[in-house]
């Protein structure tokens, strides 16, 4: 089904005023091994506001998934929040008991994972799994929960919802499964939606459908969404704001359009230029060469001194090798962590 129904222009984004729906304040996450802690996320601050999509972009190992898991209190075993605070609707979750977290999950913050097959229990009908929060959390009766679930399945574009209510996950296609997972996430009308690579496991044409669905739900439910992805193209479809992560830190942050058009950090610039799209502006093989970022991301156990990106950076100077640049405002709602952002900005416009 085509979800691209005509819609009114998006409402003007609410200003930075007001309490964010979810917020990370200087969050540090590390992997503990005995007494030693390997820092993986090193001081991240983010704010998610209703009606906005923030893209968190980075390559594997950048810490973007851990960051999103911290927002829902689901850090994997071994990983721990070593500093900073996670706030939901203005409330610090630092003192949350396991029970408080369970109540918050689903009701206030929900998550859509990459692999819909892993997010669904293969042993139970899909509809039953969507209806479960209505029964367990809202205490609805069997019939009423079923009605709510069927309505929700319709909303996420599962055709013939009443008939498919009793189908098991393996009877659903990949795209339909991800729709079901989205329905489960939205069941209790959370304010915050975390989507960790929601379309990475899907085909291009199905990915387009799911992105449309997410955009539609985002608009209609006025969600505060965090979209975690490694794909610069996917996030461009959905997000108004972007934060680029490298080696556990945000290196650049701001409105997506401005960041993509004039990146202020060499890593963002490198990522955009490494895309085949950048090398072949026309059609077909222009014979052009790609511009990869040389080298590989640092090992979190042996971080380079100074700026973590300096060994791969064409702008690196002695200053970069000595001093880790802080994330500073550069105007236009943007911030970057680079000593040479002025140079990077002119590089792109040149």
């Amino acid at each position: 089904m085509t979800i691209s129904a005509p819609h009114p222009a998006p409402a003007p984004p609410p200003g930075p005023a007001g309490e964010p729906a979810a917020e990370l304040r200087d969050v540090h996450i590390g992997f503990r091994s005995g007494r030693h802690v390997t820092p993986v996320v090193r001081g991240i601050s983010l704010a998610l506001r209703r009606g906005r999509v923030l893209a968190l972009v980075g390559e594997s190992g950048s810490g973007k998934s851990l960051t999103s898991l911290a927002l829902i209190g689901l850090l994997p075993p071994g990983a721990e929040l070593t500093a900073g605070s996670v706030r939901l609707g203005g409330e610090d979750t630092g003192g949350f008991s396991a029970r408080r977290w369970r109540e918050a999950r689903g009701g206030r913050v929900a998550m859509v994972f990459q692999d819909p097959m892993a997010a669904l229990n293969p042993g139970f009908p899909v509809g039953w799994q969507i209806a479960e929060p209505f029964r367990r959390r809202l205490g609805l009766g069997r019939r009423e929960a079923r009605e709510r679930a069927v309505a929700l399945m319709r909303e996420v574009g599962i055709a013939d919802a009443p008939a498919r209510f009793g189908d098991h996950p393996h009877e659903f296609s990949g795209g339909m499964r991800q729709r079901a997972v989205i329905a489960m996430a939205l069941a209790l009308e959370p304010a915050v939606l975390l989507a960790d690579e929601p379309t990475t496991a899907l085909d291009v044409t199905v990915q387009a459908q799911i992105l449309d669905l997410l955009a539609q739900r985002q608009r209609e439910d006025d969600l505060a969404t965090l979209l975690v992805s490694h794909d610069l193209g996917v996030v461009a479809r959905l997000a108004q704001d972007i934060a680029v992560m490298y080696a556990g830190r945000i290196v650049e942050q701001g409105p997506l359009d401005a960041v993509y058009t004039r990146p202020a950090h060499p890593y963002t610039l490198g990522l955009l230029e490494a895309m085949p799209e950048a090398a072949d502006p026309g059609e077909g093989n222009s014979g052009g060469r790609l511009k990869p970022i040389p080298g590989v991301p640092p090992d979190p156990r042996r971080p380079p001194g100074g700026c973590a990106f300096h060994p791969r950076c064409p702008f690196a100077t002695d200053l970069c090798r000595a001093e880790d640049p802080p994330l500073i405002e550069i105007g236009g709602g943007r911030a970057t962590a680079c000593h040479h952002s002025d140079q990077v900005l002119t590089e792109e416009s040149a």
Binding site: M176, L232, G233, A236, D280, E283, N285, R289
Partner: protein, 345 residues
């Protein structure tokens, strides 16, 4: 159906691989448990790879592109059709001869961590082919040759003594490429060879593949779901859908002026850094998902998801042929040079 070699340019050096009427797939127990039923995941494909050039094969999961790759390198015996390579039909060659021919036909897999034996050193991984095919490199020259190959793919000679888990994903994929090159093949099948890599590293490997082609004149059959990557690396392109090729031509023709509704939809759905939330609507969003290869639709296989479909599409299978003066071959009844397959506004 004749095999068309798209855009046969004057400098054309001939064809290294020619696939005709290829059918391949899997077998499953037949009805009532008797016999076995063949499910053709690849249902009749004609393709040609030009020497020293790259044929990109693009399509979504279930289109049969991986089955095609595995049939060509001999990992999955085809049900029907011929695979002409180096003057022999690989599909009909006896195992011993097939193994000898495999020297010239190598493959790079998607995930280097699973496709290379983790118990072996990098040098052993690269040199394994020389033990299988004696006579390529004499025993006393092997260390030097491993070092040369490592440098060729952008690694250092001292990487030879390491094990794979000590290397990054990109470095491992370089090892996989060196292993394939060690046999000095004329064709390398790359099955999603860069899909597991991060953007920045992916660009390194794509550049390496291009450099190696320029230097060694090796041809690639480059299989990927990523349109941008295929567009970048390919000279010719085949777009696959549910076991058949729906559009086939030079990369410039297919990507520049796509004619099959599926190719149009695929290109329109591909994410781009130029997309924005406000401008997202308006692209072609296909409904539904790919049907099962065990029960393909009658006639045109794409008709169940096509915005152009008519009754004729259910009745007749459209042939993959150049239509109405189009430079590429298109398997659609409506394709013509006037662009009749353009999506409805």
């Amino acid at each position: 159906m004749t095999v068309t070699e798209p855009g046969a340019a004057p400098e054309d050096t001939g064809t290294v691989l020619k696939v005709s009427g290829l059918e391949a797939g899997y077998e499953r127990p037949g009805r009532h448990g008797f016999g076995r039923t063949r499910v053709p995941v690849v249902a009749g494909i004609d393709l040609a790879v030009r020497a020293g050039r790259t044929l990109g094969v693009v399509g979504e999961s279930g289109c049969g592109k991986s089955t095609l790759a595995r049939a060509i390198v001999g990992l999955r015996p085809p049900f029907a059709g011929t695979i002409e390579f180096a003057g022999a039909d690989l599909a009909a060659a006896p195992p011993r001869r097939r193994r000898r021919l495999s020297r010239d036909l190598q493959m790079v897999f998607q995930d280097p961590y699973t496709s290379l034996n983790p118990r072996m050193t990098v040098a052993a991984v690269i040199a394994e082919g020389w033990s299988v095919h004696p006579g390529i490199v004499p025993r006393d020259r092997r260390d030097a040759e491993v070092a040369r190959l490592l440098e060729l793919v952008g690694l250092r000679a001292d990487h030879g003594g390491r094990r794979l888990h000590e290397l990054s994903g990109g470095q491992c994929q370089r090892v996989a490429i060196a292993r394939a090159l060690a046999l000095r093949p004329r064709l390398i099948v790359c099955d999603e060879a860069v899909s597991a890599l991060d953007v920045s590293v992916r660009a390194q490997i794509l550049n390496l593949l291009a450099d190696l082609q320029a230097e060694l004149d090796v041809a690639y059959l480059f299989i990927s779901h990523d349109l941008d990557v295929v567009r970048h690396i390919s000279h010719d392109v085949a777009v696959m859908y549910l076991g058949t090729v729906v559009e086939y031509g030079t990369a410039a023709d297919v990507f520049g002026d796509p004619q099959h509704p599926y190719t149009r939809a695929l290109l329109s759905a591909a994410p781009s850094v130029h997309d924005r939330p406000e401008s997202a609507a308006g692209g072609i969003v296909l409904t539904g998902e790919v049907p099962s290869p065990a029960a393909p639709p009658s006639g045109c296989r794409f008709r169940t998801r096509c915005y152009m479909a008519t009754d004729a599409c259910a009745a007749d299978v459209p042939a993959l042929e150049p239509r109405d003066g189009l430079p590429q071959s298109v398997a659609c009844h409506f394709a013509d040079s006037a662009g009749s397959t353009a999506p409805p506004p």
